[in-house]
């Protein structure tokens, strides 16, 4: 007998015989927990996002869509970045004013090549206010998972208020489980040494989030 059959057989016996199909799942579970916590206006939800991002040591900036290219230039310069990774579908114009060398995300790029890149600029799929989380889903304006992982500096642009939700339940509704997702709440961190928080053990040490309004 295969191990699969052995294990499934043991499960069946452990439960005292075959169990009927779970067609009652929807009503079996009490989902009276909240879809969001608190009553906020859209504006307040965006403020909460900014607050919670900052609380987890992301650096938050605001810009209108006209100001965005200049903001990105300023952030790249502030980090001293000479090379920036670019996802294939990054909106035209975001990097229009940047003079850093643009390294396009291609399947042939090795991790070692990416390691030479200073910064990465991406959009996001959704941002969660209550937890201060941005979620990337690998869409063309975000690129493959590795480009937001290996470089030390990640600039992530969130369109507000459209891409902002209040809560984790609302975020999951918007996301497609078949895509590889990365949820990011602040920069990489560890508390493994006497519970002192240290930023950036393996992922980007600096996370800058630009909240862009107006288009």
């Amino acid at each position: 007998m295969s191990s699969r059959d052995v294990i499934l057989g043991r499960v069946r016996r452990a439960l005292g015989g075959p169990v009927e199909a779970p067609d009652s799942y929807a009503k079996d579970i009490d989902r009276s927990y909240l879809r969001e916590h608190g009553n906020r206006t859209t504006q307040q939800t965006v403020e909460l996002l900014a607050e919670n991002l900052a609380d987890y040591r992301a650096i938050v900036h605001r810009a209108t869509s006209e100001e965005l290219p200049a903001t990105i230039v300023r952030l790249l310069a502030g980090h001293g970045s000479r090379a920036v990774a670019v996802p294939p579908g990054l909106p035209d114009g975001w990097l229009a004013e940047a003079d850093a060398t643009q390294v396009h995300d291609r399947a042939e790029n090795t991790p070692a090549e990416l390691d030479e890149v200073d910064s990465v600029v991406t959009a996001c799929a959704v941002a969660i206010a209550e937890t201060g989380t941005i979620v990337l889903d690998g869409s063309p304006d975000q690129g493959r998972r590795r480009i937001t992982l290996v470089p030390d500096h990640h600039i992530c642009v969130v369109r507000v208020p459209d891409q902002v939700v209040s809560s984790v339940p609302q975020a999951l509704e918007r996301l497609d489980p078949t895509r590889p997702l990365t949820w990011i709440s602040g920069p990489s961190a560890t508390s493994d040494i006497e519970l002192d928080r240290v930023e950036g053990v393996h992922g980007p040490r600096t996370l800058e989030v630009v909240l862009v309004s107006g288009g």
Binding site: A112, R146, P177
Partner: protein, 492 residues
């Protein structure tokens, strides 16, 4: 479970030694109290916490009750998404499967995400015997691995080490595993973390095979989820060409929507954060993004035996948040190593003797490694009644009775000569600095037990309608010991 802890003395002896280690106790106390206080705050932000906890419990119970259905569904959806599913009934089989998969790639090195399941089966040690080097990439796991040590906490495995010890380990050992520690390394956490970053980055960038566990597996979509802080998980899940995930069969949730419960309760219970820095999900393979070969190894290793126990099976709801460790007065004093298993603390005290059986001295003593104060139940985000299971397992040790081992029903005999209880009695004395004070506290709580309401009266009623207030154990162990004459007259 594997031989990681072979030769481990029973809990009382190990606890006795640990309690006398003052560095360990100071490290532990600082750590558990810090997380504990922060957790309180993180949980109190959500005013539907009790309902989330109840939903988490119901989802897990439902899944366990229909486990066969969901395992089959998961297998189908993972396969449809481009992954390959393997089944392993025990540690040996799981280790053989993983070693075989690594060999197929022609590689002799793998990078690993921290995973309880692979520790449970002793994967690293097995791979080593097959000539494959497994590198732990979580900072704490790295400290444990370089120090040739054992993990002592689910979440912060090197919690028993202070910064000076960590610096010494890095200086001495890093060079023989790869990039040596920088010259003049000091003991500041930032410098230590930087040394680890450089040491590990070299491995990530060349790794062809990654090995992980998973916090959740979604049956309907075939999605796996890893929750972490450092980014080492993302590295291992993204950069290698082949990814092998080794996961216990109980880690299933039925639907994508179910994650909304656990992604709220896990981080807050575990690291006391609103959300952990990184969560990664992957569904099979994705074209040119991440590993192009994905293998899921589903392990039983005592889980179906645990499932067969109607009282004990609730331990399978555990999402390994470690909240119960941080509130446990026995864990705080004894440390994680005393539990002789990769699962320390209250959850370890009920899980290990079920996964491994109560045949060995250490496993027979584990159900006694508790004061039954009930704090673990109160914090548990999936409402596992740990004291209830402890009492149930004590009874099994003392009185014997029916159990399931390797899928077969067996009749357990009472532990020989009540060695376990005698040992347990000593454990209780040793594990506490002020045994008398503690005992008084327990008795008070127990005597008033029937007056503790199961639901809050008045306006709080609606709030507790779906939640039981924590139960206080019926009788402290000491009293039971006295009353039953050291367990000789059992179960009166």
């Amino acid at each position: 479970m594997s031989g990681t802890f072979v030769g481990m003395p029973a809990f009382p002896k190990a606890a006795h030694d640990a309690v006398r280690n003052t560095t360990l106790r100071a490290n532990l106390k600082h750590a558990t109290h810090t997380i504990r206080d922060k957790r309180e705050r993180a949980v109190s932000e959500l005013d539907d916490w009790a309902r989330l906890r109840q939903a988490g419990k119901e989802i897990k119970d439902h899944t366990l009750h229909h486990l066969e259905h969901y395992l089959v569904q998961l297998e189908e959806s993972v396969t449809a998404a481009g992954g390959t599913v393997h089944w392993a009934r025990d540690a040996d089989e799981a280790n053989r499967i993983v070693a075989g998969l690594v060999k197929e790639t022609g590689e002799s090195e793998v990078v690993k995400v921290k995973s309880m399941a692979t520790q449970e089966i002793g994967l690293n040690e097995h791979l080593e015997t097959e000539g494959i080097h497994a590198y732990e990439t979580d900072l704490a796991e790295l400290i444990v691995q370089l120090g040739n040590d054992r993990p002592s906490h689910i979440l912060v495995p090197a919690i028993h080490r202070n910064r000076g010890e960590i610096r010494d380990i890095f200086r001495k050992e890093m060079g023989s595993w790869g990039r040596p520690a920088p010259e003049g390394l000091t003991d500041t956490p930032a410098e230590l973390a930087e040394a680890a970053r450089l040491h590990l980055r070299e491995k990530f960038l060349r790794a062809k095979v990654g090995i992980s566990g998973a916090n959740f597996m979604v049956a309907e979509t075939g999605t796996l989820v890893v929750v972490e802080s450092e980014g080492n998980g993302r590295m291992c899940l993204t950069l290698p060409e082949t990814l092998i995930s080794v996961v216990g069969i109980e880690k299933i949730v039925p639907t994508w929507q179910d994650l909304e419960v656990f992604l709220q309760t896990l981080p807050r219970s575990s690291t006391a954060e609103r959300m952990n820095p990184y969560t990664s999900t992957w569904t099979g393979t994705t074209d040119s993004d991440g590993p192009q070969n994905f293998h899921l190894v589903l392990i039983d290793n005592g889980r179906t035996d645990t499932l067969a126990d109607e009282v004990g099976r609730q331990a399978l709801r555990c999402i390994r948040c470690s909240a119960c460790l941080n509130v446990c007065p026995v864990y705080e004093r004894a440390g994680g190593h005393a539990y002789g298993s990769v699962y320390p603390g209250p959850i370890g005290a009920i899980l290990s003797p079920q996964l491994r059986g109560t045949g060995s001295e250490i496993d027979a003593s584990l159900p006694y490694a508790s004061s039954l104060c009930g704090a673990c139940y109160e914090v548990c985000p999936v409402a596992i009644d740990i004291p209830e299971v402890l009492v149930h397992l004590r009874e099994r040790v003392v009185a014997g009775g029916p159990a399931t081992r390797n899928g077969n029903k067996v009749m357990l005999r009472p532990a020989k000569g009540h060695a376990a209880e005698r040992a347990a009695m000593r454990a209780a004395t040793w594990a506490f600095t002020h045994p008398a004070a503690l005992a008084t506290g327990q008795r008070l709580a127990s005597r008033t037990r029937r007056f503790h309401p199961r639901t809050a009266p008045g306006p709080g009623k609606a709030w507790t309608a779906t939640r039981d207030l924590p139960k206080v154990p019926a009788e402290p162990f000491r009293d039971w010991w006295k009353r039953t004459n050291g367990g000789k007259e059992t179960n009166k």
